[in-house]
């Protein structure tokens, strides 16, 4: 596993005309772990999708070296196949050996589910199967969206051990969760609820049609032309220097 890094600079996210967060900085190096905390709808999942490259940030950059694995509420496992068959497809996609599937199922304590169709799994079992997909992929950067959801106490502990093992092997874990997680964090970013709208087109009390800005207006922040400077809401911990290890030179 090559040394993985993850670096977010001045990241801002806009969803549905609402500024969720801005000016978010984060540096993680091999073995690092961060939790994104905060209430529902605050942009935790969006942040993970930006890091994964599935969403474009409104401002800022997300740089990473190393492959990324995302585990969210979508398990991406074919319902009509067995767990082993569904994982085999992803093992082929990740050029992993079939033996990695058995190892991953053992790690998550579900070897007995290998030949059960995915549609028969319970929520927690499906979550474990999705985590097995992440293990099989062997990507250095793990993005976990609410990893504790649906997992029982024992499974949550197992996940904590797996995360610790992954970090010892030089992996990075970035997890979004509104509850404390089973492993220690290098840094916790707490996002707070934002009320900043970047254009007025959501205002329902705009009577005149001539006054209503066009839908394209959402692309342009009102009052400021510098996208990195919009909004006042910043994550509480993000303005402080990110956690660095001694000897790391600044990027």
């Amino acid at each position: 596993m090559t040394a993985a890094t993850l670096s977010l600079r001045g990241l801002a996210c806009v969803r549905g005309g609402r500024l969720l967060f801005s000016g978010l900085n984060l540096d993680l190096r091999a073995g690092g772990s961060a939790q994104i905390a905060g209430p529902n709808g605050v942009g935790k999942s969006s942040l993970l999708r930006i890091v994964a490259g599935l969403l474009r940030p409104y401002a800022g950059t997300a740089e990473r070296s190393g492959a990324v694995a995302l585990t969210d509420e979508l398990d991406a496992l074919d319902r009509d196949r067995t767990v082993r068959e569904a994982l085999t497809f992803w093992a082929r996609m990740d050029e992993a050996s079939p033996r990695a599937i058995d190892a991953a199922l053992d790690d998550l304590g579900i070897p007995h589910l290998a030949d059960v169709p995915v549609r028969m799994l319970s929520t927690g079992q499906r979550k474990r199967a999705a985590l097995a997909r992440t293990l099989v992929g062997n990507a250095p950067i793990w993005l976990l969206d609410e990893p504790a959801n649906g997992l029982d106490v024992q499974a949550a502990t197992t996940l904590g051990n797996l995360v610790t093992r992954h970090r010892e092997q030089g992996g990075i874990v970035l997890a979004a969760s509104h509850t404390p997680l089973a492993w220690t964090q290098d840094i916790t970013l707490t996002l707070t609820t934002s009320t900043d709208y970047i254009s007025g087109d959501e205002d329902a009390d705009e009577p005149g049609p001539a006054e209503t800005p066009s839908a394209l207006g959402a692309e342009q922040p009102t009052g400021s032309t510098d996208p990195s400077a919009i909004g006042t809401m910043r994550p509480r911990d993000a303005s402080s220097p990110p956690a660095r290890r001694p000897g790391d030179e600044p990027a």
């Binding site: 990324v68 995302l70 969210d72 979508l74 398990d75 496992l77 996609m93």
Partner: protein, 213 residues
């Protein structure tokens, strides 16, 4: 990579039974048509070729809502994009798999359907050649429309409206070839088909990207 994706989609199409639907649909139309217009051999052989084209076109519409939407909904497309597969590549693989699941079965079904419609051997040959050239284009069109409508509720009514006008050139040249015994009309079918095969992954990929935002 692409090979695994094609095999997976192909397996899904045949396991779920959706691959057999277009085939059954074509045979059903060919079997019902003589009941509707009467068993007049001359009439049937004159109209049968065009009918087969319409049946093939409508049959290609059937699996559209199962092409992209289930994979988008279950996160498969997200996971493929994470692995640095472009949306265009994903759609190209799906396009190939879709054609393999409905093109060749349709060509085979055209043989008994031609017999039910009392088609001349050379007319049937032109129909089958035209379908062989045209079905890749129809498959591409189905993928394009499936990508455009992925994530929309009640999209099945919309898909027909989107596909049918775009499929008209293939239908005109394909059915037109029957009057001239193939030749240039078939070349135009191939040209339309090629154009759609190239455009569909690019435009559909852009639609998937835009739909994710």
């Amino acid at each position: 990579m692409i090979g695994s994706l094609i095999l997976r989609d192909l397996g899904r199409a045949f396991r779920s039974g959706s691959a057999w639907m277009p085939l059954a649909f074509l045979l059903l139309i060919a079997a019902l048509f003589p009941f509707a217009v009467g068993p007049n051999a001359t009439l049937l052989s004159q109209t049968g070729g065009g009918l087969l084209w319409i049946a093939a076109l409508l049959a290609s519409l059937m699996p559209i809502d199962r092409l992209i939407e289930p994979d988008r909904e279950s996160g498969v497309i997200d996971q493929l994009v994470l692995r640095d597969h472009g949306e265009g590549t994903i759609l190209l693989a799906k396009q190939v798999a879709h054609w393999l699941s409905f093109g060749p079965p349709l060509l085979i079904a055209a043989l008994p359907a031609g017999a039910l419609l009392r088609l001349e051997m050379d007319t049937l040959g032109t129909v089958i050649l035209g379908l062989a050239l045209g079905t890749p284009g129809l498959a591409a069109l189905a993928i394009l429309v499936a990508a455009l409508t992925a994530g929309l509720r009640g999209s099945s009514a919309l898909t027909g409206l989107l596909v049918l006008p775009l499929a008209v050139p293939i239908l005109i040249f394909g059915a037109g070839a029957l009057h001239f015994g193939g030749g240039n009309a078939l070349k135009l079918v191939a040209a339309c088909s090629l154009l759609l095969c190239v455009i569909a992954p690019i435009a559909g990929g852009a639609a998937l990207r835009a739909g994710r935002e």
